[in-house]
Amino acid sequence: MKKAKVEAKTKEIVKKHGRDKTSLIAILQDIQEEYNYLPKEALCAVGEQLEIPISRVYEVATFYNSFSLIPRGRYLVEVCAGTACHVQGAFNLMDRLQRDLEIKRGETTPDNMFTLEEVRCLGCCSLAPVVRIDGNIHPYLTQDGIPKILRNYKTGVTK
């Protein structure tokens, strides 16, 4: 990624928010939306544009769960860790996904296809346990159902 390009895009986003310091979180959300993570160049540019010390920008960027400072894979796999999903055995799904994807929670597969994360309750408790992949909810998921779903995403047959 070109530094100048990232900086220009960041400038545009900051401008959209009226260069308002209090919009820092919203600005970072837009950057994350754009790049799927928060590039370092963008964070530095935000600090400069808003005249906020970079240490404060970094603090906010690392405090909140939804921000990632490393690139995420094409598909975000989120295992719901809500209480309803937990009591229905969501931890078994996480284990299976870790085994099948050969990564740990929070990591991205080497082919940049999947990033595996845990999410705090998606509020689809009637469908527990659920996993959300690329925004699609997969209800009543069993360990057994995982390989086929992953295969579908790999080959582009989603949903």
Binding site: T22, T83, C121, C125, S126
Partner: protein
Amino acid sequence: MKKISTLDDLKSAGDKGMKSLFPRGVKIVVGMATSGIASGADKVYEALQSAIKKRKLPFTLTKTGSMGMDFIEPLVEVIEKDKPRVAYGKMTADKVPQLIGQIVKGAIDKIKPIYRVDEEDIIAKREKKHYLTGIVPEYLQDIPTMYEVPFYKKQVKIATRNCGIIDPESIEEYIARGGYLSLHKALTAMSAEGIIEDVIKSGLRGRGGGGFPTGTKWQSCRRAHGDIKYVICNGDEGDPGAYMDRSVMEGDPHSVIEGMIIGAYAVGAQEGYIYVRNEYPLAVANLTKAIADARSSCLLGKNILGTSFNFDIKISKGAGAFVCGESTALMASLEGKAGEPRAKYIHTVEHGLWDRPTNLNNVETWANVPVIISRGGKWFSEIGVPHSTGTKVFSLVGKINNIGLVEVPMGIPLKDIVYDIGGGIPGGKKFKAVQTGGPSGGCIPATMMNLSVDFDALWEAGSMMGSGGMIVMDEKTCMVDLARYFIEFLVSESCGKCTPCREGVRRMNDILHDICAGKGKVGDVEMLEAMAIGIKDGSLCALGGSAPNPVLSTIKYFRAEYDAHIKQKRCPAAVCRALIKYEISAKKCTGCTVCAKKCPSACISGVKKKAHKIDQTKCIKCGICMESCKFNAITVK
């Protein structure tokens, strides 16, 4: 959008809404809240759309929020002039042609409705509206009315009055059901003090968990010095297993907005913020549309309803931090900072957002306000029990048949929620406990099922009302594992500011992990109890202050399970992996080899058509063998 500045304007908007709520022709409504979409409502909607188009039918198709019956979603309702409103559950795209056929024929064939609605209470307007004129058509006579369905029978809907009924994108439909009439009353016929007095009289207590009297909070904020004041709606619903606020924001966004405008007028605020959890995109979308509509109708912005009152609302999206549900952390987050709470010795009603007087209430609290204003504080105070008035919305989830959102009068016995509304425990399993209050709450054991569900009784039982998550557990839930689950949640959600929470909860987690792994030591339970007191007393904010609750309440009611883990190295519910063993019964095993094929660690061996065996040294205890055995030959102990 037409400007609304007089009562007549409101009435004509309401008339328009009435026409779409009670149409002349046929209208099909699909429940399209997040829970509906997750169970496939979007596909049903698409199928309906193309079927109507294909058959060139004069039907209207609209979306609505959630009725709360998550267990039978996707839910489709059919409204026909002069006939009862009819609901169909568990709809799929495949069933759509049949359903359309039934509607055209005016009969019931293969797709049976789950309930019908002949008439409906419009609670904010104190009137009934009839779908049915004349007698019930013969083909619907056997169908129970909504109020006869056990799930609804004991419910009273105030905060969720419009959810699953109106189109959340239609301000007219909201107005038709009494919306913005309370605002008109408040701005034109009541003084700020009068409103506060009425809210105090209602006995309304904060629905976000703390249970602080809302009217008193408003009064302090009104009395606080400062020209600029704020109101905030806390929509950062973070408790796992709780999604009541999402449902209101998605299904009836105007109720929150109207509540906030009234509150702002009462405390003297000019600006408002709705802080919505990052994981709720549909809530953000519907609130955004509602705010824009309210603004262009002159119900928000300058000179609201033609008066001199100015007030506007902005939406702020959270970025994934449970602690931001705490008011001072939420305010820090609104200011663009990391969400760290601060000591509340100086109250936020005096020094809140940007150090200015700020009144914060949660979604459900705000949604109650318009009804209180329209029906009066006294009316509201007569619902529920003394000190806990009105209703409470709960998300009833976990090991229960009827999973969904329920709104019940305060003081209802817990067993009524679990058995009458919830329909009991699935699979003939034994009911064990209910967890309320999320990570700050506790467990109520089955033996206390007569407990009155209100702020004080729950507190005395060692749990709390919290925001309204109610998770039902059966005999297959390990209470030690559950305590570990909540503590682990809090470890990753602690902001890390103060020592007792950051370090203490982490050490409690270590001990609980040890117990679940069979490495618990005698004395660990006492150790946890002692730490809990220090953490509760010593933490800076409510997150740390209530963090030990799930541990304390499980120790209080399920001490034997802790002892079984520690002393006998046994998990009675067969959940904790280090302490359980999967075994194949030689008698029941048919040698079908399914389990052996599915086992990820290849630890099941045996000859085809002969009983198989599990190599315990290689077993990773994922349980897939038991899940896939069709002969119930595999047990776990």
